[in-house]
């Protein structure tokens, strides 16, 4: 199974500014999501896309909504499957809050690993 790895930190710096390390504000979230979607379209043979947040500092609710919730909702058919990795405690907190509003939640993808998938509640 081919896996597409997307580094959100690189996406932020490529799509918005080389100087940014935090995912804050809705326009930033939109720009990063659009960049990620371009990467997904380019990797047509990958059924799993790993969205890696390990090189991201802080993420606010607006970015959690624009990047995680909207990505998942726009690919509700299940292709590709999104796996979210490199999440800090505060990233998870922000994502949990926004997913709950959309009737979804974050669950561990694999035992003993820091990777998660979003599921409908």
């Amino acid at each position: 199974m081919m896996r597409n790895h997307i580094d959100v930190g690189s996406a932020l710096r490529s799509a918005v500014s080389e100087n940014y390390s935090n995912l804050v504000t809705r326009p930033t979230g939109v720009a990063v999501r659009v960049y990620i979607e371009e990467q997904i379209r380019a990797a047509t043979d990958c059924s799993v896309t790993e969205i890696d947040f390990s090189r991201v500092g802080m993420m606010d609710f607006s970015c959690a909504d624009e990047i995680v919730a909207k990505l998942v909702m726009q690919h509700e058919s299940g292709t590709p499957t999104f796996v979210f990795s490199g999440l800090s405690e505060s990233h998870i907190e922000a994502i949990d809050v926004v997913l709950e509003r959309h009737g979804m939640s974050l669950v561990s993808h694999e035992a003993d690993s820091n990777s998660y998938i979003a599921v409908t509640q």
């Binding site: 935090n22 804050v24 802080m58 606010d60 607006s62 405690e89 509003r101």
Partner: protein
């Protein structure tokens, strides 16, 4: 005729109402002199709200600078006079503030666009860690939550106010309240359209018998209602409220003629003040107290 409004000796979110009360009786183009000569102390809210006040006037107001050197020096270090010089006719001796030696967590910073929020978050993140962990005794994760709260409150200006506002953050020790505990205070003030007018732009908003500034604040802050139809919107301030609760902090939002507060056990404020003097925009304050193990 110039209308003189005296700044109370201690200027914070509560005493600022003493300025708004006489101001609300004036026409927007009436001449105003804000007399701060006898002011001795001002919170981040007091200073940012003074800048906001000037933005609401049609004719350039005057401001008499505090006479006490220590007070004027602090206002300068907080960046107040740098911005006030563009908005007020300053009267009196204005000291120079050296920004890199300010000792203030975040000097008064204008917020008008998304980039400004990035700048604010980057500046504060680096400086807040030691204060939150060493002085307020909060866990390390609090820094991220704190900057999230700051980001969301600043975004409120960018997304809804319709004009630029101001943010300031500082930490100090309360002399009389909370047994002298240290607090961290965020103030975010703007003179934009305010919550009620912002929500009124939403299409399909159900009309109710009661619709006023107080209800608009309840909708936005307590129920996460936004003018946008997107269900993902409106989570910012509701999320901030959640964090503040975890820290036993206080969160207050003033808009128009109302002020809504999430009141912790250590404070005696009321959850909703109505019929306050009208003032444009929204003024937010977050107070995080030093944690005390019980």
């Amino acid at each position: 005729m110039t209308n003189v409004i005296t700044v109370p000796p201690s200027l914070d979110d509560t005493t600022f109402e003493q300025i708004l009360e006489p101001l609300s009786r004036l026409q927007p183009d009436d001449r105003v002199l804000i007399d701060a000569r006898h002011a001795r102390w001002a919170s981040p809210y007091g200073l940012t709200a003074l800048l906001t006040l000037a933005q609401t006037r049609m004719s350039r107001p005057s401001l008499a600078v505090p006479e006490a050197d220590e007070t004027a020096s602090y206002w300068a270090r907080a960046g107040f006079f740098r911005h006030a010089a563009d908005l007020y006719e300053l009267m009196g001796s204005v000291p120079r503030g050296r920004q890199n030696e300010s000792g203030v967590l975040l000097e008064i910073t204008p917020v008008a666009a998304s980039e400004d929020v990035h700048t604010v978050v980057d500046k504060v993140q680096a400086r807040a860690q030691s204060i939150l962990v060493n002085e307020l005794k909060l866990d390390a994760a609090a820094t991220m939550r704190f900057t999230m709260a700051l980001s969301e409150t600043c975004q409120n200006i960018v997304e809804h106010a319709g004009r630029g506002g101001w943010v300031a953050v500082n930490s100090y020790r309360w002399q009389r309240r909370l047994a002298g505990r240290r607090v961290l205070v965020i103030a975010v003030c703007d003179a934009g359209v305010g919550f009620r007018a912002s929500l009124e732009t939403a299409t399909g908003r159900p009309r109710t018998d009661r619709w006023d500034d107080g209800m608009a604040l309840e909708e936005a802050v307590m129920r996460g209602v936004s003018r946008f139809r997107d269900t993902g919107r409106g989570q910012g301030l509701a999320g901030v409220r959640m964090f503040i609760g975890k820290w036993n902090g206080k969160f207050s939002v003033r808009s128009g003629t109302a002020r809504l507060a999430i009141v912790p056990s250590w404070d005696e404020d009321v959850p909703l003040h109505e019929n306050l003097p009208a003032f444009p925009g929204s003024q937010v304050q977050i107070t995080i107290p030093e944690r005390v193990d019980r």
